[in-house]
């Protein structure tokens, strides 16, 4: 399906996303369109709403206002009127959207009581109706691709953080998502382990996997992204290609990038 003419297909469309916690506006007005094959990085100081945006997009949180759709199908639409509250589809309909996206967490969230192989095969078998043999074949291929071929029978507690994160990427990929979200995938890792995870994401970018990456790794974002968003105060303050962003005329963007690049 990834033929010509599909190149400009919008996988994800967010319009006027709004979210507050106990009256505190965390997301104030976020609009974002991601096309197939695009790699979008989201940067910004902590508390800027990056993770909340990701959590709303992956249905872990419900947004208060605005609309969200995958492949042109509405997860929630925006109500008419000034406030534009989000109106979600029914709960049963909501579940089918899970097959469109995957999410890689900051702290991996692997299932500790499952072996590496079972972590990867269980969801396809139980939630996507895959045959066990097919799921295992896919899982072993993924593990080989991510340099973990010999870890299939290990348990998460026996792996390093970097290896665990690669397993969690494999787990997400096993469901063949259209779009993969990363929530600060290297923030919980020792510096010497971030490299192996970034290498995997880089490889996925080369294979034109559509990805949205919340990260503090400025140089990595610059290298791997088609587009970078700078978020602050619940708004996208600046958006553009890495070159545009790194040469932004906005002082705040420069200050933020400079600070992180120096660290």
């Amino acid at each position: 399906m990834k033929g010509e003419g599909m190149e400009t297909e919008n996988l994800l469309e967010i319009r006027h996303m709004r979210k507050s916690f106990e009256g505190l506006g965390v997301l104030r007005d976020i609009s974002l369109t991601v096309r197939r094959g695009e790699v979008v990085s989201v940067i910004g100081p902590s508390g800027s709403g990056k993770s909340t945006m990701l959590r709303c997009a992956t249905l872990l949180e419900r947004m208060d206002g605005g609309s969200l759709s995958y492949l042109g199908q509405a997860v929630c639409r925006m109500e008419e009127g000034e406030r534009g509250d989000s109106v979600y589809v029914s709960k049963s309909e909501l579940r089918r959207f899970h097959r469109y996206f995957g999410l890689v967490f900051q702290n991996f969230n692997l299932f500790p009581h499952y072996s590496v192989l079972k972590n990867i095969t269980d969801a396809p078998v139980r939630t996507a109706g895959a045959a066990k043999e097919d799921a295992e074949k896919t899982a072993r291929e993924l593990l080989a691709r991510l340099g973990l071929a010999d870890k299939a029978d290990a348990y998460p507690c026996q792996l390093s953080g970097g290896q665990q994160q690669r397993v969690s990427i494999a787990r997400a990929l096993a469901l063949k998502p259209e779009i993969l979200f990363f929530d600060e995938p290297t923030s919980a890792l020792d510096p010497e382990l971030t490299g192996e995870v970034l290498k995997v994401i880089r490889q996925l970018a080369k294979e034109h996997m559509t990805m949205i990456i919340v990260t503090h790794e400025m140089n990595f974002a610059r290298e791997v992204s088609d587009r970078i968003l700078f978020m602050e105060d619940g708004l996208i303050q600046e958006e553009g290609t890495p070159e545009e962003l790194f040469h932004s005329s906005k002082e705040r963007v420069q200050e933020f990038i400079g600070k992180l690049a120096a660290s």
Binding site: L59, H98, F105, N107, N109, F111, R126, T127, R171, L175
Partner: protein, 217 residues
Amino acid sequence: MDLGTILLQLGGGLIVSVEIFCLTLLFSLPLGLIVAFGRMSRNGILRTVTKVYISIMRGTPLMLQLIVVYFGPYYLFHVRISAAYRFIAVIIGFAVNYAAYFAEIYRGGIESMPRGQYEAAQVLGYSRAQTFFLIILPQVVKRILPSVTNEIITLVKDTSLAFVIAVAEMFTLAKQIAAAETTIVPLMIAGAYYYIFNLVVALGMERIERHYRYYEG
């Protein structure tokens, strides 16, 4: 009465004690889970009802609860109590009491699970029931095993409380024989039986704990 006869008679009582023990676990372990769900429910009424239930079960003597379960039907509804009801009353009383303790153990275990496990399962498309029974509960079981072992060992000894409604379990028999024969030997033997019973239970629980040691977390 010679030693062999005493050993044999008490052995019969031990079987009744084991029956009480097994049936109590069979009913109270699942019932405790249901009570724990009620205790953690989003429904305020359900939460209050289960909270009061747990409070009463833990706040009053099990011995008194057994008597109430046994004589309650007569005093409240003037139902004739049959002989068979004795044993049933013991099982009801124990199951309902232990369910309250197990419920709190389950709740502690479930609430100690990191939210990330639920979120990962949700994103992977697991239903709520799948998430609980496949991802959460197996991990909870590992975490609560030491507390459950404690409770189960207490249960072995608590089976002796069945004497208050004259169920012929081991302790009841030991007391009767001791009184009739004016000797302390039956009580010593009963003690030894309880101890061996608990030793077996403890060994069994240790095996289960060892089984779960294949992962950390």
